[in-house]
């Protein structure tokens, strides 16, 4: 019940296209949903995040869509660029004792072709 399921595993998009990555969860105790971007050999970088009381959040070319009733959220990358080629992880946060921990999806490897 603490899993976060992410799809697709890999994605190829042409430059200028829209990249869409989806995640689903079961546990309604999750209360914060971030997306991370990771380049090879680097640590993941926080990209954008959303709370469950909001249905959409946009930051530049990156948008999170959140469907609380369906327990699903997705990342949309508009006007995808070759520099966006990276692995993307969704995650969900849950309170544990006096802290929070993140449960990560399995990742999506995005390749944007020039």
């Amino acid at each position: 019940q603490q899993q976060v399921k992410q799809s697709p595993q890999s994605l190829i998009v042409q430059k200028g296209g829209i990249s869409i990555i989806n995640c689903a969860y079961e546990n309604t105790a999750f209360d914060y949903f971030p997306w991370y971007q990771q380049f090879p050999g680097k640590g993941p970088a926080l990209l954008i995040a959303i709370r469950p009381d909001v249905s959409e959040k946009k930051e530049g070319r990156f948008t999170i869509s959140f469907n609380k009733s369906a327990k699903q959220f997705s990342l949309h990358i508009m006007d995808s660029q070759p520099g966006d080629s990276a692995t993307y992880f969704c995650a969900a946060s849950i309170r544990v004792d006096s802290s929070y921990k993140l449960i990560f999806g399995s990742g999506t490897r995005l390749l944007v072709r020039p």
């Binding site: 640590g43 926080l46 995040a49 544990v96 004792d97 802290s99 929070y100 921990k101 999806g105 399995s106």
Partner: protein, 113 residues
Amino acid sequence: SQTIHQWPATLVQPVGSPLSLECTVEGTSNPNLYWYRQAAGRGLQLLFYSVGIGQISSEVPQNLSASRPQDRQFILSSKKLLLSDSGFYLCAWKKGLVSYEQYFGPGTRLTVT
């Protein structure tokens, strides 16, 4: 601004040898600290987290242990490495209970031979 450091950046160790990876955070106090492991081409597995000095919670009690001797220092250890301990080890921090955002360090690439 806050900065998180990890060292070493890369490490090659023989099976059965000990391990010590260090993580330090600058520019904040009393952070929540986390250790993750990432196998090649895989997701992130939470190993340990800590809310304060000497307070360690274990998610995957296998061949590894963690310690927090100082407020902004988090150490990952093993007495005897296994081949399966190979991976990319990431430290992360968060501002206690006041925020959700978790920030990762640059990672340590461990290869056990």
